[in-house]
Amino acid sequence: MSEAISQRLKASDYKSANKPVWCPGCGDFHVLLSIAKALAHLQLPTEKVAVISGIGCSSRIPAYLNTYGFHGVHGRALPLATGVKVARSDLTVICAGGDGDGFSIGGNHLLHACRRNIDMTYIVMDNEIYGMTKGQPSPTTAADWDSKLTPGGPGISPFHPLVIALASGANFVARAFSGDPNGTTEMLVDAITHPGFSFVQILSPCVTFRPDQKNWKKQVHPAPVTTTADASQAARRVMTDDGFNIGVLYKGSRPAYRQIVTTVTRTNRDLEKEFVT
């Protein structure tokens, strides 16, 4: 074996010693693996990566990685990640969470994170359910998904995250499947290296509350189209697909947000003078 191989950081070097407490069979194990493989492929130093999350099963992910991490409050992963990136533009910032955290509680933040186009990657592990709180429907749950908690189904049309991301200005939009960890790794490498806000929806089965999602591995298929730089064309494609096309669907060229550095000339005392005492 060559010396060069042994000196490179391996995927396992990016995983922490904490053992995941996800249910055996959960798709999030593979997402963790894909992130570790992507970071290893890019050979990013662990101290140059920050993984930020909100709340939910998938939001535990920063604890399982050997990078900087912040397990924030529900739905607020994107504002946190934005703050980290603006303060420390030298870091590779990855924001991660689930469909409930990202599309419901944090839904408004998604719109503005896309619009601001800050250079970071947002990974949503979408299992179409709130798994941590035992199976309530999320914004991506099908209207007719019947369960004990939602007899007859929630009856509400599901949210279309990729279309929303495109309409809001995300610079990179992709859909992956956790059961294809190597393909997901390739997409994450692409997302991390693409300038601006990259959004990757990863279909990640919840085997406990949605055992039907085990079939996703038979349903997913590569998107039969090439990546486009035309957002409206990409939106039309994802509006009409079956939800199981995987691949990079859109790569834009909008410049990433750049912080305007200003020199602060006023002191705290100057500011205090503006308040009534």
Binding site: M1, S2, I5, R8, S12, K19, P20, V21, W22, C23, P24, G25, G27, F29, H30, K37, H41, K134, G135, S147, K148, L149, G179, D180, P181, N182, G183, T185, E186, V189, P205, V207, T208, F209, K214, K217, K218, V220, H221, P222
Partner: protein, 177 residues
């Protein structure tokens, strides 16, 4: 899964064959270790022990492949460049098939499928290569995997098929069933 992926040729050079063989064993070892941890986390000690044993076996196989690769400059490829027939390397256990209440029988049955997939991969690599040395080594690896499958089957024979209600949990984690 894409049929294009399944049908693409897997003709490999000697270096690529050895690298693929090594990654198969290393990824299987890693996957079994993680499955052992998962099972231990949810209190399924018997299956955790079994997966740990399998991880150790795969580690030994990796050492054997490294021995074969002595003097060969192995080059790590991007994960998506390996020519697997499925989404993952063939000896990696299908994650969605594991269950927190699974029995050793189920674990061995899944492991047997992994050995068979690995055998099939190497048989195809042997058949589709035009280099005689690669054909011979791929054939040897396929025979090894065949032997592992026989051992796995013997091991499986020690564990009877579990009763139909093996997944019944009187205190289930699921509130929506």
């Amino acid at each position: 899964m894409s049929s294009a992926r399944k049908n693409r040729k897997i003709a490999l050079s000697m270096e690529e064959l050895l690298q693929h063989a090594l990654v198969i064993e290393l990824e299987a070892e890693q996957s079994y270790k993680e499955l052992a941890d998962q099972m231990e986390e949810c209190g399924n000690h018997d299956v955790a022990v079994l997966f740990s044993k399998m991880a150790a076996l795969e580690g030994k196989h990796a050492t054997k492949i490294r021995h074969h690769a002595t003097g060969v400059e192995l080059k790590e490829h991007p994960p998506w460049k390996y020519r697997w027939e499925g989404f993952e390397s063939p000896e990696t256990l299908e994650l969605t098939e594991v269950h927190y209440l699974m029995k050793p029988h189920h674990a061995l049955d899944l492991a047997l499928s992994c050995e068979r997939r690995a055998e099939s991969f190497f048989r195809r690599a042997a058949a589709e290569s035009e280099d005689q040395a690669v054909k011979n080594l791929a054939q040897e690896f396929a025979d090894d995997e065949h032997q592992h499958a026989i051992w796995m089957q013997e091991w499986l024979g020690k564990y009877p098929t579990p009763k139909m209600d093996w997944a019944e949990d009187l205190d289930p984690p699921a509130g929506a069933d």
